[in-house]
């Protein structure tokens, strides 16, 4: 759901960029003070870039890919990890691959890096003890993706690019399914695999299973 240039007027894009910037700055504080496993972070960022290219077909002649903010937050134990990593990935995609616009970079970071990550991560935390790590990471990642899609539809409605109601309906419908087959499934798969194969590479906070 990378918004291209032209879909949001500059004045509105600037507001999203400012909001995103507040979160990005705070995420650099996390990287500076609360995190030290730099190779783990860089590896995860590379993996998220790669998996974002894997579009999975869904009905209606459509496809979708994982975005990965919730995965980063769960694995590194902080929603700021998702903001930080998605920012790096989205910047590279916009500057080098024409995937997502330059002027709307803030909006894309806000949707996939901030909204998706925070909602998904806190959903995961709330559900973890009750339903277990696999189901909680699936649910968190799914909800995060759907929320990001609806936020995107709202922004594009404010921009006059999509009609509000139909925009929400179609963006919601596609991403409910993409969330199931891509975001939810892959997040749960990666989280449970890493915790089983090598939990010791994760920060203590991510390993807590009360």
């Amino acid at each position: 759901m990378h918004i291209p240039d032209g879909f949001i007027p500059l004045s509105q894009a600037a507001i999203y960029a400012l909001i995103a910037l507040v979160f990005i700055v705070r995420s650099t504080k996390w990287a500076r003070e609360e995190f030290s496993e730099v190779p783990l972070l860089a590896t995860l960022a590379a993996g998220i870039f790669a998996i974002q290219a894997l579009n999975i077909p869904i009905p209606w002649g459509t496809s979708g890919h994982m975005t990965g903010g919730v995965l980063a937050a769960i694995l590194l134990g902080s929603p700021w990890a998702g903001v930080f990593i998605l920012t790096l990935v989205l910047v590279v995609q916009a500057l080098f691959f024409a995937d997502g616009g330059i002027t709307v970079l803030g909006a894309n970071i806000l949707n996939m890096g901030v909204i998706s990550t925070f909602l998904g991560y806190y959903t995961y935390l709330a559900l973890r003890k009750r339903v277990g790590i696999a189901a909680a990471s699936f649910a968190g990642a799914w909800l995060g993706l759907v929320a990001a899609a609806l936020a995107t539809a709202l922004e594009l409605a404010l921009a006059g690019t999509f009609p509000l109601r139909e925009g929400l309906i179609f963006m919601g419908m596609y991403h409910v399914v993409i969330g199931l087959v891509a975001e939810g499934t892959l997040t749960a798969l990666v989280v449970t695999t890493v915790l089983r194969v090598s939990p010791e590479i994760l920060p203590a906070k991510a390993r807590e299973v009360a």
């Binding site: 240039d5 972070l41 960022a45 870039f49 995107t152 999509f162 590479i201």
Partner: protein, 92 residues
């Protein structure tokens, strides 16, 4: 520890190399939604000519072009993340 990261990074590059062959070429959810609305037509603007448009290397043929673009992108994200995170950690 280092070895685990190497394995994980290897998996990332494996996904990157396989993605061009496995990925669906259907429009994504946003593109498909945009196709439905008159108001979204002809709005898309390319403001910056990117070096690897649509994850391809210009002038390179077929699948090789996409594979190389994905390898470059994955390496770029890895190095950039390493650099930025390291600079921040040192500053803090």
């Amino acid at each position: 520890m280092q070895r685990r990261y190497a394995v994980a990074l290897g998996i990332a590059f494996l996904v990157a190399v396989l993605a061009p062959f496995l990925a669906s070429s259907n429009p994504d959810g946003l593109e498909k939604t945009a196709e439905k609305f008159e108001s979204a037509q002809d709005r898309e603007a390319e403001l910056l000519s990117s070096p690897f448009p649509d994850y391809t290397v210009p002038g390179m043929p077929g699948a090789a072009s996409e594979v190389v673009a994905m390898i470059i992108g994955t390496a770029l994200v890895f190095v950039l993340s390493l650099g930025v995170a390291r600079a921040l950690t040192k500053a803090g």
